[in-house]
Symmetry: C2
Amino acid sequence: MTSVTSTERHTPVQSSILNSARAEVERHGILGLRVADVARGANCSITQIYRYFGDRDGLLAAVLGDVYEELVQTSFDKYMEYIRSLDVITVDDLVNTLPTPTQLAAMTSQEVRLQILAVSVKNSQLRTRIEDFSRAMLDQWNMGLDEIEAHLEPGVRLDRRIFTIMILVQTMYYRTLLGDVGFTDAEYQQFLRDKFTL
Amino acid sequence: MTSVTSTERHTPVQSSILNSARAEVERHGILGLRVADVARGANCSITQIYRYFGDRDGLLAAVLGDVYEELVQTSFDKYMEYIRSLDVITVDDLVNTLPTPTQLAAMTSQEVRLQILAVSVKNSQLRTRIEDFSRAMLDQWNMGLDEIEAHLEPGVRLDRRIFTIMILVQTMYYRTLLGDVGFTDAEYQQFLRDKFTL
């Protein structure tokens, strides 16, 4: 059984299993993945899947771990790419680039993350992988904040603790559930603007 | 097919189906519920389950909706019960009574909530029920905050917007995933203390 880290090179069979599993997840959702369907899509046997990934949980850990890391890393990379394009960074730049409750794409990504996190509660391989990735992501945010602070507009001091806590604990799904009675994008951004600085 | 609201009276068969489903969820987790197991536990047929609850999604919506509402309502009730026992409420009272990252019971409840929310992404009956409950819960919080403000220590003004946003958007699961490198209970409480007041 191979490790589930994404950095590892995959054999052609492993890759076609992972591609098939990814397609199944996109078609039927994360919670209903069947190993038999994955085997059919990859033109391999269920036994082969078990040989490479141990069991259904191992397969899920590999596929969902990849999806999770891609979603989070892409969103971080886009954020930093925009921030790095600025000579002087204002608090508005920091706030307006973060996802807000009513952005459809961001909320779809939140729903996928939520489902993957829910699976990780009982899938210890997936949980370990997401734990490792979350710690690496925290390091990336800290390095990103170093860059941000080096280019902040004069006189502004960032409250890194707030920035980090807000990024760490929030899921917008609760907000989404409230519909019209939840806070607005404008209220949320004003809140971030007020609290991100010292 | 009956409504999935918890306020409705259940027939004996419906109750035994719901009890059996609840026991299955506790035994095998939320994501793996099988209707055949529920039928066996309730001494009824799968057809009867479908007659009362429409389909597997309808059954899940009823059971998980009940569990979700109980968890959130109980936690709110306990919070308000403590707060109401105080003659004068300090900011420390408000902060120290909220769950912190390292409380095992609170985190188990978070994990169950996370799993139920993940199911609600694709189960529209469950999602509608949780949406309705979330709005009712927001009303309860607003009434609770009225009570709190009426007994706050002199000179303290609560920032209701922050209190509500923090309660609405946070899931501690992200924090849990970070283990030792995440913020501490003390840091989290200091953050709440600093930000809850105007």
